[in-house]
Amino acid sequence: MTKIKQFSALQVGIVWQRLSGLLDETAHVFVRTSFSSVVRDNWDFAVCLMDSKGRLFAQSSRSIPSFIGSMPRTLKIILKRFPKESLSPGDVVISNDAYHGTGHLNDITMIRPIFRDGKLIAFIGSVFHSVDIGGAPSVTARDSFEEGLTIPVSKILVKGVRNEDVIAFMMENLRAPEETFGDIGAQFSAYEIGIQRLIKILDDEQIDDLDMLVEEILGRSETAMRNAIAAVPDGMYSDEIMLDGFEEPLKIRCEVCISGSDLSVDFSGTSEQINRPVNSVLNYTVAYSAYAIKCAFNPNTPNNEGSFRPITITAPEGSLLNPLRPAPVWARHLTGHYLPPVIFSALAKLIPDRIIADCGSPVWNVYFAGKLDDGQRFIKMFFMNGGHGARPHEDGPPCLSFPSNIATVPVEQFENSVPILITEKSLIPDSGGAGEFRGGQSQRLSFKMISKDPVTMTIRHERVKYPPRGLLGGRAGSPGCDYVNGERIPAKSRMDLKNNDVVTFDTAGGGGIGSPEKRSEEKIIQDLESGAVTKEAAERDYAYKTKESL
């Protein structure tokens, strides 16, 4: 039996490197064979390894942050229903419970136990976003039952054989079952490769006791995070941020407390849960809070549970950030994406060199549902990113996804798939918040309907009333705005568009950092030349007079 002290720094380093590589490879197999654009283009999924005690010790590196840490909680619920002794090689357990998982029904979690010499040694699991999950998710949903099918904890594979009852149940309730099951099958293949690789690594490195190695890895991650937290002064730092909300605005308040090597975030003072689908279940709240802290304190270590041991996240029960069943949760990113900016602004005075100003997020998207010319129905989602927040020592990049990480779909791909033309995709002048370092520019996207039949459009956009804030003297970015044929429309709406109608979206610009007075003349001239800033804005924001205007 391997003793814990026999893991040298060298061996841990190499094994860890191999484990991370293993999961990236597993993720890659999934992406290459997936059928959905959200998996392929947006990497809206995660693959994780947990030890026999259910501790997450490695996660695919390019996954979007909303999945951080949720898998061990889901595993706990799964083990309640199927204790370890009831699991066999080849079993795969499925669930999409929003309150035990990642916060909405579209995210389907699957977990497969890994056996070695007849003994359960670990779990491989993945969670992915299914574009449709049945039901009628919409901004008007009043509870989570409206939002689609809940798949209770069930075995979808029993010893490698399909459980046809569970599959039939799902097939009947989904609008696009082929796509969802294409992705589920792709994950089954990915697990096979992940498991073979894990066993090979354990054999190569002669590791008998994986749990002990995991403890070593988690311990090192924990120490790294603790060192980073301990390096900044103790204290309480708080801030709040306003959300556009619905009839009324919503508020998130956070208080970050640093004490020695511990860090806690508490969200007391946040608005109460509402009967609109923007409630963020605690798992999702924890994921985006932990993500922000990792980015600010310790961005370059691999992602595992150890990094989060020194961190406590709390939110009052019944609040927007810890809702009770059956509050609707479908569009919880409209709340969750505000957590990194409010945590960063709370920490701005403490660690001004490690944070960024507000980005033009929550990420915007639009759903188009209509008919192709041959009568076949289509439903298409398109994501649009806003400007990135300014950085402490440089301007924010234009149109860069944060805190999610969602790539844009190429214009030519989009137009090949649906009868809608994109007539403009361009950077908006003066959209980046002024500052010593300017916020990133946002974009204008225009879509023209060219099908015979009307197209139903659904949007739910934030940052229209409250634009992305600047930090440390920097100004806010421009707010977002939606138009149909040049007329403003509500940012949360659903409407039918007819042939030749043009819908236009201006996403929100990133916030600036530092006083605009400190901006260098060189940068102002560059902005004028590129058109990022107009003459009028240069004069207004930077008191800069161009030669022509003098």
Binding site: A9, L10, V12, G13, I14, Q17, R18, E25, H28, V29, R32, T33, F35, S36, S37, S61, R62, I64, E179, G182, G185, S189, R197, K200, R220, T223, A224, N227, C295, A296, N300, T301, N303, I356, E394, P397, P398, C399, L400, S401, N405, A407, T408, P410, V411, E412, Q413, E415, N416, L421, T423, E424, K425, S426, L427, Q443, S446, E529, S530, G531
Partner: protein, 706 residues
């Protein structure tokens, strides 16, 4: 055999390598000179003169010159290309600045994005629009084009890239814009995207077109200088250039598509591995090769299967942030597929915030270089570790041209790694060596897995300066049992040029479901692509041997985003056999992903036609003159092979003096001018008829990776 010589010249970052074959007797001659970065043609000419003089050959005897260069890649990496303007569809001039809108690093708030090569001021929009089916939605506003053309004509712009939406379906607007531009300024260089890379995806197609325009003036000026210098020394032969996909083309074709040269040197290395593998007479070898090329700052790995390197149709150039995928400029060009790892001899070892050793991607470069160069480097590098472990000899680096300082290495390793970790200097050096080998082995294994291959089915051919030092250790990690170490591994790329066929790939995009394939249109298109390929592959016309035409379709299930390449014969296309195409696709898909989706419909995304001439044969079995000397021993040196064996007194041999057929038991060290082969205990090796050192390693069996 005919009279005269064929010459391969590869300009690398540090050295310009030359390999020449005597067409009369098939013998190879090598030369290596320093690269002259300010005007690389000077180095080439110096090298050519040197190799001719050293072998007493008259310049007129050069029959054929094949050339590869880092010039194209470096122009982009160092941003030293020409001033380019972009003309694009109304409403879309900012596409290059927005890119994919995604972050390539999830946690780093400050990751860098590459700045666009064309600033916004020089990106022009013109009213026009073509739909996804190629139909004109808005006709081109020529008066606006004339305005833009005049603005460009009166500026200092050297070249114009034109990239309109859906031009891969209908190139007419782009062609008309080119005419107008050339009418307004007859000398201006214009690259249109429907010519450079007619494939779906506006961001990548446009960036490829811009890069082509960006390097074109520099490249053609360089070619003119080089040709001029050759003429002055009495060489009047046309030049051939090595492309990134392993084919060579006449200089006139290279001058139209210079971006396709971006990886010419590494492509040569892969082609050399193919040739070396052909001649080895080892029975265990199944023709599957892992070509492992490790130099000063990076290592590259390429898989060769059944004598063919793997291909890809995309490449990322000029990564600006820790070599990370996504931090560079995307190109759509045919390339030999390789993975690149930011780990070479100069890579720096450091401790991360977990107290674990990380090696690279930061490199000490050539100046100050590794601590042992004695040029002021304080940081421990891979080369320093290799010196401490005894793999390198202090007085034999580059044939003794550089005297290495082992004490400086020990100090650097001690201060930066050993002391903080409480390890001995030797243990720390071993840890550095192991860590870098693990990175490379893992990257190679992942690469193989991505291709649904088992790395254990491969033999390794190590090339590059540092490749042979690390090769055996990496092979042991990967459970590879066989290595083929060619002589003159340091000039392998230039040798590769001499064994590459002339070849040109044409491409045409256009997404269509297989069930709705219009065979008349496809056959017409393939024919015209073949004609274009024959036109651009001038050698294919001159060649007495047969011309090979390969037709490839990029295919996938409808709804997927990644394609597989399916070879389809003309016969199948002419007989309009949809079922046969479906079967061909399924066979490839099954091999790559282990399953098929019988209920899903299939689509074709693009077509590729490769027109290639015959592959030039060099009989490597007679190409190198073996020495007949018993005087190859250079004594013994203490070499560290890991904590189990500690330092072992190991025989050191002079590689160039060992004759064919000689056998050795490991451990052993084989020294050459530019590299050293480190052979571990328990191995058996011999010198084959082509003077390759064939190493059989003692690998474990039964733990294969599938």
């Amino acid at each position: 055999m005919s009279d005269g010589y064929r010459l391969g010249v590869d300009i690398g970052g540090t050295f310009t390598d030359l390999v020449m074959v005597d067409l009369h007797n098939g013998k190879l001659l090598d030369e290596k000179v320093l690269t002259t970065p300010d005007d690389p043609s000077l180095g080439v000419i110096e090298g050519v003169k040197k190799i001719l003089e050293a072998n007493n050959i008259h310049a007129s005897k050069l029959k054929h010159i094949i050339h590869g260069t880092t010039l194209v890649a470096n122009a982009i990496i160092e941003r030293r290309g020409s001033k380019v303007a972009l003309i694009t569809s109304q409403g879309f001039r900012d596409i290059q600045e927005m890119g994919t809108e995604s972050r390539y690093d999830t946690y780093d708030l400050f990751m860098k994005m590459p700045a666009p090569l064309v600033t916004r001021r020089w990106r022009f929009e013109v009213p026009e629009r073509i739909g996804p089916d190629g139909q004109v939605i808005t006709i081109l506003d020529e008066s606006k084009v004339i305005d833009v053309a005049r603005a460009i004509a009166s500026s200092d712009v050297d070249a114009v890239a034109v990239s309109l939406l859906h031009s891969y379906q209908n190139p007419n607007h782009e062609r008309r814009i080119r005419e107008i531009l050339q009418h307004e300024s007859p000398d201006i260089i214009v690259c249109i995207s429907s010519d450079i890379m007619p494939e779906i995806g506006e961001y990548e197609r446009t960036s490829t077109t811009i890069c082509n325009a960006y390097v074109l003036p520099t490249f053609t000026r360089y070619l003119a200088r080089l040709t001029n210098r050759f003429h002055k020394m009495g060489v009047n032969k046309d030049l051939y250039l090595m492309l990134s996909d392993g084919g060579t083309v006449h200089e006139s074709t290279a001058a139209i598509y210079p971006i396709r040269l971006v990886q010419s040197g590494p492509a040569g290395g892969a082609q050399a591995a193919v040739a070396i593998n052909k001649i080895t007479d080892n029975k265990d070898n199944q023709g599957n090769i892992l070509c492992f090329d490790m130099g000063g700052t990076t290592a590259k790995a390429c898989l060769v299967e059944d004598g063919k390197p793997m291909h890809a149709n995309e490449f990322e150039v000029a990564r600006i942030f820790r070599g990370k995928k996504g931090s560079g400029i995307p190109l759509k060009i045919p390339v030999i597929e390789m993975i690149e790892i930011g780990a070479g001899g100069g890579s720096i070892a450091r401790l991360d915030n977990l107290g674990l050793i990380q090696v690279g991607p930061e490199s000490a470069g050539a100046d100050p270089g590794p601590a042992c160069y004695g040029l002021g480097g304080q940081k421990a590098t891979v080369t320093d570790a290799d010196l401490i472990l005894g793999y390198l000899a202090a007085d034999n680096f580059l044939g003794g041209d550089i005297q290495l300082d082992i004490e400086a290495s020990k100090t650097a390793v001690k201060n930066t790694i050993a002391k903080p970790l409480g390890l001995s200097v030797v243990d720390a050096a071993w840890a550095i060596h192991e860590t870098v080998n693990e990175s490379m082995g893992q990257a190679a294994a992942i690469h193989a897995l991505e291709k649904a291959k088992r790395i254990t089915d491969y033999s390794m051919i190590p090339i590059g300066g540092a490749g042979p030092v690390h090769a055996c250790n990496i092979a042991l990690k990967l459970n590879l049992s066989l290595l083929i170490c060619p002589p003159s591994a340091g000039v392998a790329s230039a040798l590769g040029f001499l064994v590459s066929p002339t070849s040109f790939t044409t491409l045409q995009g256009g997404v269509i479901p297989l069930s709705r394939l219009n065979f008349e249109a496809v056959n017409r298109q393939i024919l015209s692509m073949e004609e274009q390929g024959r036109k651009l592959n001038t050698e294919a016309r001159e060649s007495t041997g047969g011309v090979n035409v390969e037709i490839l379709a990029s295919m996938r299930y409808i709804g997927q985003g990644y394609n597989v390449e399916v070879g389809i014969s003309k016969k199948v296309l002419i007989s309009k056999n949809i079922a046969a195409i479906q079967q061909l696709f399924e066979a490839v898909y099954l091999t790559q992903f282990g399953r098929i989706e019988p209920h899903m419909a299939v689509e074709i995304v693009s077509w590729r036609v490769v027109v290639s001439g015959p592959t030039p044969e060099i009989d490597l079995a007679v190409a190198r003159t073996g020495a007949h000397s018993d005087d190859f021993s250079k004594g013994h040196r203490r070499i560290y092979f890991g904590p189990k064996t500690d330092f072992i007194s190991t025989p050191v041999y002079e590689r160039s003096k060992i004759e064919v057929g000689r056998e050795f038991e490991g451990p052993a060290i084989f020294e050459e001018r530019e590299s050293t082969i480190v052979v571990p205990p328990g191995s058996h090796s011999f010198v084959d008829k082509a003077l390759n050192l064939i190493i059989n390693l003692p690998v474990k069996s039964g733990t294969e990776l599938s």
